[in-house]
């Protein structure tokens, strides 16, 4: 469903994504991990058509990203890390606008929006009365997730989707993506909350400095590296273990 072949992105002399290649079949939930600045968001932004790759190719849902960008976009849902929305629209206006951009008739759009409203426990009054600028971060995130799933895309990219969601909503969200995967949707899930990734994802891909470090099932990778947990494994391969020692040093220096 998603195939990357030596996908590369350079910003001037800096290489953000360096010949990244992997494939994700339909129905799989992939945890896309890496430390800050590893190139995760840049990869997702390339795969959703927000930025142009410098070289390499990618196919999403059977369409070439560079040759058929509109067909790719039609089949992709994206929750960006920024959670940006048009703040001066009400939640309902925003969702109806998004539905219309995908050619969903108003009646069908309203029915789908209502499904999400009841799933996320969003009050309909809030959605119609308040402008998005007045929403809490969690509420806004729910609207952004709804906007990404409204057109029922076969491929969904989530970039830090749990940011701002309360514990209940987060549990609901995890159950939702598992249900979506069972329906055959391909989900790429980028997050720093590794225990969630470990529990939800069928597979993890870890990148650093734009390059692929590890790719496999979480339990197999953890066992192969004798790490005990995905978090341990992540710190081992990305140099995070060093940070614990540095934090100790910092604490001592800061006290004195």
């Amino acid at each position: 469903m998603i195939v990357l072949d030596r996908l590369t992105k350079r910003f001037g002399s800096q290489t953000a994504v360096d010949e990244l290649s992997f494939a994700v079949p339909a129905g799989q939930i992939v945890g896309f991990l890496g430390p800050n600045g590893a190139g995760k968001s840049t990869t997702l932004r390339m795969l959703t058509g927000l930025i142009e790759p410098t070289s390499g190719t990618a196919r999403v849902a059977g369409f070439d990203l560079q040759r058929d960008p509109i067909e790719v976009k039609r089949r992709v849902g994206f929750v960006p890390e920024s959670g940006a929305v048009f703040e001066s629209l009400s939640g309902l206006e925003y969702l109806e606008m998004v539905a219309a951009l995908y050619g969903i008739p108003p009646k069908a759009a309203r029915a789908r929006i209502e499904q999400f409203i009841s799933f996320f426990d969003l009050g309909f009054d809030t959605l119609t009365d308040k402008l998005l600028g007045a929403y809490s971060k969690g509420m806004r995130r729910k609207v952004v997730i709804t906007a990404a799933l409204l057109h029922n895309p076969p491929v969904v990219f989530f970039d830090e989707p749990l940011d701002g969601l309360d514990a209940n909503a987060a549990v609901g969200f995890k159950a939702l993506i598992q249900a979506l995967a069972r329906e055959g949707k391909t989900i790429v899930y980028s997050s720093h909350i590794l225990d969630v990734v470990e529990r939800v994802c069928h597979r993890v891909i870890i990148i650093d400095r734009g390059r692929l470090l590890l790719d496999g099932k979480p339990e197999e990778l953890v066992a192969a590296h004798q790490a005990g947990s995905l978090e341990r494994l992540f710190t081992q391969v990305t140099g995070g273990a060093e940070l614990e020692r540095r934090a100790e040093d910092f604490g001592r220096t800061f006290r004195s």
């Binding site: 910003f11 002399s13 629209l89 402008l131 076969p154």
Partner: protein, 550 residues
Amino acid sequence: MSDPAAAGAATAGDARIASQARILRRLFLTLFLRGRGARGLRRGTAPKSIAQKLWVTLALYALTGCLALLFRRQSVFALGVYLHAMTFMFLGMFVASSAGEVLFNQEEGDILLHRPVQPRTLLWAKVRVLVEVSLWVAGAFNLVGCLAGAMGRGGSWLFPLAHALSTTLEAVFCTSSVVLVYQLCLGWFGRERLEGLMTTTQVLFTIVTVMAAQLVPRLVMHPHAISGVGIGAGWIVLLPPAWFAGLDDALAGTGAPSSWLLGLVAVAASAAVLWSAFGRLALTYESGLRALNERGSGRGRPRGRRRWLDRLVSAPPLCWWFRDPVTRASFVLTSAYLFRDRDTKLRLYPGISPMLIMPFVVLFQGGTRGGFRHGGFSTAFASGYLGLIPLFSMSLLQYSQHWQAADVFRAAPLAGPAAICRGARRAVLCFLTFPVLLLFGLVIGWFMRGTPDWVLLLPGVVTMPVYALIPNLGGRAVPFSSPIEGAKSVGRGLRMFGVMMVAVVLSGLAGWARHLGWFWPFLLAECFGVLVACAVMTRSIGAEVWASLE
């Protein structure tokens, strides 16, 4: 839930695009009327505010348009030139100041770029909204002008229709020109320099429109100033407002061949610019939007090398001026935004460009009438206009896309915004006011050498500190602390207009005092007044505490 791919395939492509175009147009119009950011307001109250303000703005434009009655005895062409030159200025400034936010909004990428929308559809929807709002502005301003044309010398009932057509063409021409210039900059210079270029382009466009609007009517109304000026003059074909005035004259005036020629140029130029901006270069638009979404690009600063700003504030004389670390930090912050932040630059420089240009226009206008020798008022008024630079700058600097980040000022252990505002004022003084004053001084030093009129610049210069303090009264205009929608406030515009009128009155008084031989006592009194006002205002600003955030 149904499969969207199937749903997408079922819908005819063209129908989808038509529908998307309508939806996007409605979206951008709503965003324009409501503003892009809204904090804590309900739909019932927030959306109306900017639309209501827009009505007040249109009413003000209509009022300004009444000046066209002064031209009712002029020919249709002369009236047309006046109306189109002023319309060109208003539209040029409006489009240039809105285009950056509307056409290249960085946040919008995350919302719309991953949706199945053709870049051409997106661009067209935005431009339609820009043209639509431009036409409201143009319509309000030209309302009285149309009546003056219909009832004036050589006019007919056809004038309102002809003028409506030419004004619509002018709005299309203005908007398409701005879009085209952006596209060309993007195509020629690439993304690395896009942001800087967009700002420069916008500032230059505003300056050109202000100059054109000031110069063209004067040249046409005063044919003795330059021999051979008139409808048949060859050089007039170089001035866009004259093309559209030619169309007015061709359809509702003399119908002279030269008018038809100018009208033809108007139609051809509008069509060519429209076709180039949307037909040829629409694809560049997508790469422009994508370019804005590329984060973390560009070359890094060599390790260990300090920024010039840090070095500047650490070295004398500035380090003596910044003993207070908060003022110093605010100075660095404001200076960094003045030079680096695209959003700030796009609002600030076009916003103050009339202040940069008008003193020269006023001065030279006085000069063409012998003003360097006798025109006391124009010289005094020119410097009075310069005094408004810190006022406008401080007022515009309070708006930022990053306004929520300004909460850090409140979180810091500061009783009020005084020190923050002081730092911002000093940055405006150092990087905007002093350089312009220096340039102005050099220009008038050259043109007014040997004349004693230069002293008339002093009353305007002396008042600068007062103007700079005005925006901070009442704890307002804390740098980068307000959402950008506030910049469109009519109330703010009216306050600015009020202060401008005070500058006019002061300039008049200075010229009058000089005429009566009381100039130096007048200046002394003004200096005393300024000192007292500064002391009172500084005290008042220093006593301000943070207002509660609602």
